[in-house]
Symmetry: C2
Subunit: 436 residues, 2 copies
């Protein structure tokens, strides 16, 4: 139910990720009625999705209910509407979700990015992806199910097939999930699954370019390669998947095929797509919405795009800014300031605070603006940066406890196959999938 | 993969609930090779399922991975096999799961109980149930989804329909989930869902007999009734559901019908069923397996049944013992002692330590063998009894923190709609269900 009419402008924000939530937190709610629309009822934390996928963290550790986050004292700073946006009507000034149509005075699109299969959309059904908490839970359940099934499988060849993992894409997400799998292979299998051996598990990481983490420094790339090799991850650079079917990956390199029953796809992202009414789609490369230097969508009045979904090319960034949490956070705050003031000042400038990626359990690489470091120290730095970014003291403590526990014991209480479904009679299969 | 041959007897245990896990913990693994088979890879905690369903606890707080629990120091006390048992072949001495066939020397059936629809099995598809962690998650997601959809629904009548909850069965599970819903209606709605009013929510509890908690004292029944009424739960005693279709419940009381879009069924349990080969089904009333006073299945050698699934009638218990955690725990320990000794001594005797149930957030009823008490003191007692029963210090601390947090703030970070699925292209609907 939308709020009652008011003389204040209504700002509708699509998406409560880093960009949308930071915008709302800094927006002056005495000037605006704010409505947040999101497909989930919680703010997720993408940098740690890979830890949910690998049972290192529980999804609840990194999911924050909007209805709590949007409360400030006794009142709600913004109204929350669950819904998946289907279309935006620029002429009628409305947003339509699967549940309702919401009128806006100003619209901020912060819906983020999702998987990109570069036209091969049939892949979606075959591979596992990591762009949401739900997708991470799906990976966790499938991985744990495979380890369990393999551990009661007497045929060695079948065991190896069950545990043939391929990760596509050598960016941070790919490196981090491959590292977590490597930890599993190297340290966990022997202890938790006495009928399995590390040799039963194969982990291949495929990257199309000539190095891992190619948005980072050469040193980071080299350290990541070394770190993953130590975790028995088999790395194939300059290797691009052409097709995947019948559990076989065919690459563009002549003759190379790889067997894999579980492919994790981290190789591409694109802006989340909507239907546009009353205007030509203001969408450019990578499915991103084209804006000017003030996050205003090209050719539209009172419509803004921030975070992963927006793109503005300039002399500083001829291909637009990278799709990173830091950019989203800074743009959210920037746009709040503009809207509060009611006028533009200087255009948005991204302040690069550096980037990081973990390689396994206690090693990371870090590129600060003028300094590279790696190993255990980088891992500790990575840990603290991410802890501090989590919302709320309680999550910080929970995550820290989980990490310390895992660090000292390699134990995790989180290797749980939780499905939320059980009865085949309800159309739910025993393995968590549905019949048909 | 089963372990290598050994001269020791192999004990296969079906089900790692209170009965099975306590048996294994007390079984002498220098005398037996132990294999645990369970459909889940974790030990659940049924007394607190209703708290998962009502977002009071996270499923991970009360789920304990078997692979960790079965480790004692460096070796594994028992081998764990994930699998859902389909059949037991008494002649061949094997158990067949959906994944494999396992030979046994001795078989302990501790598979517990599941929902009983008294022949009306079509109900399974229409109602929500609470007999496993997965079923509790399903209730949580459906409840949260309904609150979200109602909060963007402008039509008051439709809002009320979305939030028309009926709980069938006035035993502990029914009373506890109705109480949790009542707390939601009375205290949470107004604060977390500003567009909803408590009047939008209706909660009906139906019980076939003339009092709630009829296995407990009359005083407990009266206190439960009063407590739930204070939480705005509408209680109908002597009311039995005859049928449920098109969102309408028809009762056996002439003319009474109730509208409900979400029915939670806690009205009946039965033993988990398998196919039996080489023998007539040794199954009696309530689908329970008939045993003698030593938990030995009638007419079978080296086959035992303990916990909810077993029944032995005697002068003390002409209808068998109640299906309670305490009975299961005590039978697990009892059978371990018999198997370790290799001979029977005195038959099993249940030592009744009393029973308890919560009514809402900070009130409970407790019947000790010679003493009844209720209110806040009973709630504190209930809390400590359940905390102490949880496995591991870490879960105890986590659950205590969650409870204290909720007690002082009514806040919960756990109202998360986590689905583990997302893409309609994968056959997954946006609302978490699958298309067809």
């Amino acid at each position: 139910m939308a709020s009652t009419t008011s003389s204040r402008d209504r700002v509708v924000v699509i998406g409560g990720g880093f960009a949308g939530l930071n915008l709302i937190k800094h927006l002056d709610d005495s000037k605006f009625d704010i409505i947040l629309v999101d497909r989930n009822n919680f703010h997720g934390f993408p940098p740690l999705f890979y830890q949910v996928a690998s049972s290192g963290l529980d999804p609840t550790n990194i999911a924050f209910p909007f209805r709590r986050e949007l409360r400030s004292g006794k009142h709600h700073k913004a109204e929350f509407h669950l819904g998946e946006v289907r279309s935006i009507d620029v002429a009628a000034k409305t947003v339509t979700t699967n549940l309702e149509t919401i009128p806006y005075d100003r619209l901020v699109i912060a819906a983020g990015s999702t998987n990109n299969f570069f036209g091969n959309d049939d892949l979606l059904k075959k591979v596992y992806t990591l762009k949401s908490t739900d997708e991470a839970i799906r990976i966790r359940n499938e991985m744990l199910d495979r380890f369990e099934r393999a551990s009661v499988e007497p045929d060695a060849e079948k065991r190896r097939r069950l545990l043939s993992f391929v990760v596509i894409g050598g960016g941070p997400a790919g490196v981090e999930i491959a590292g977590a799998l490597g930890e599993m292979k190297r340290y966990v299998i022997g202890r938790d699954y006495p009928t399995l051996s590390p040799d039963d598990v194969s982990i291949i990481l495929m990257e199309g370019s000539d190095r891992l983490l190619r948005t980072m420094s050469e040193k980071s790339s080299a350290d990541a390669l070394k770190g993953l090799e130590a975790l028995m991850v088999d790395i194939h650079l300059n290797t691009i998947m052409k097709s995947y079917g019948d559990d076989n990956i065919v690459t563009t390199t002549a003759g190379d095929t790889f067997y894999s029953e579980m492919v994790i796809w981290t190789a591409g992202v694109q802006g989340v797509q909507f239907e546009w009414k009353g205007v030509d789609k203001p969408v450019g490369g990578g499915g991103r919405i084209v804006t000017d230097g003030y996050c205003r969508v090209d050719g539209l009045k009172n419509v803004y795009a921030i975070g992963d979904i927006g793109i503005h090319t300039s002399d500083d960034a001829p291909r637009g800014l990278p799709q990173l949490a830091q950019v989203a956070i800074q743009q959210g705050k920037f746009l709040a300031k503009i809207l509060n003031k009611g006028r533009t000042d200087r255009p948005f400038r991204y302040k690069d605070k550096g980037s990081m990626a973990t390689i396994g359990r206690n090693r990371a690489v870090a590129d600060l603006p003028h300094y590279h470091f790696s190993g255990w120290a980088a891992w500790v730095a990575w840990m603290f940066v991410h802890l501090l970014s989590l919302l709320g003291m309680r999550s910080k403590i929970n995550v820290l406890l989980n990490w310390m526990w895992a660090y000292f014991t390699y134990n995790t209480s989180l290797r749980l196959l939780l499905r939320g479904s059980r009865y085949p009679e309800r159309g739910e299969m025993w393995d968590g999938t549905r019949s048909k």
